[in-house]
């Protein structure tokens, strides 16, 4: 049993650290990526990778208790709601007239995401 506890301890530590790292990576993408669709991809890293790893780490930490059930419920809701919200958001962005950038930076075209001036508000 001692060994199993040790393994669980280190596994949860690794999961928590990896989850925190993924959150930071996703948030960096959210700030650095050029337009809404790519930023949506970065936010997906937070919503799936970061959230699931951190919640799994916490579940290993709390063992078979009520907390694990609550964490499982949170995980369940996040797994259902974040793809739905992401889909609705992508669809809203598309129908507002924004189009994804389908070329690399060297093409030097900039009309990809600024073709609907009415939707861009002040910074």
């Amino acid at each position: 049993m001692e060994i199993v506890n040790h393994i669980l301890f280190y596994a949860s530590w690794a999961l928590l650290a990896a989850g925190g790292l993924l959150c930071v990576i996703g948030a960096f993408g959210l700030v650095r990526f050029p337009e809404t669709y790519t930023r949506m991809h970065a936010a997906g890293v937070i919503d799936t990778g970061g959230a699931l790893l951190i919640l799994a780490g916490l579940m290993l930490q709390s063992g078979l208790t009520l907390e694990t059930v609550k964490l499982a419920l949170i995980m369940f809701f996040l797994l259902f709601t974040s793809p739905t919200a992401g889909y609705a958001l992508a669809r809203g962005t598309w129908s507002a007239g924004h189009r994804p950038i389908t070329h690399t930076r060297s093409d030097a075209r900039t009309d990809g995401h600024s073709d609907s001036a009415g939707m861009t508000d002040d910074g």
């Binding site: 530590w13 809404t36 949170i74």
Partner: protein, 95 residues
């Protein structure tokens, strides 16, 4: 050891806040608010364990649900200017 996760979440919260303030389009802001909500849920879960009383995970649960409802309400508002309209015309936009 919850510190590793907590630091990551706090940094991510700050970056999401930057995106929400910077914009530039409304959809970027909605995306940032959505990510911010998910990160808040994670932060609340980790804070519970960090402070030694993990029995307040219910708050995180409530947040996970309210965040989703909020995002859908915002998108419905932007799309139709209304919270309760039928969505028949939806499929014509993608053409």
């Amino acid at each position: 050891m919850f510190w590793a996760a907590m630091i990551g979440i706090l940094v991510a919260l700050a970056l999401a806040l930057v995106r929400a303030i910077a914009g530039p389009t409304v959809y970027d802001r909605i995306l940032a608010v959505n990510s911010f909500g998910t990160l808040t849920v994670l932060a609340l879960s980790v804070i519970g364990f960090l402070m030694g009383r993990p029995d307040f995970l219910d708050i995180a649960l409530v947040y996970a649900l309210i965040n989703f409802i909020g995002t859908i309400a915002v998108l419905k508002f932007l799309r139709y200017g209304d919270f309760a309209r039928a969505t028949q015309a939806d499929d014509n936009d993608l053409v």
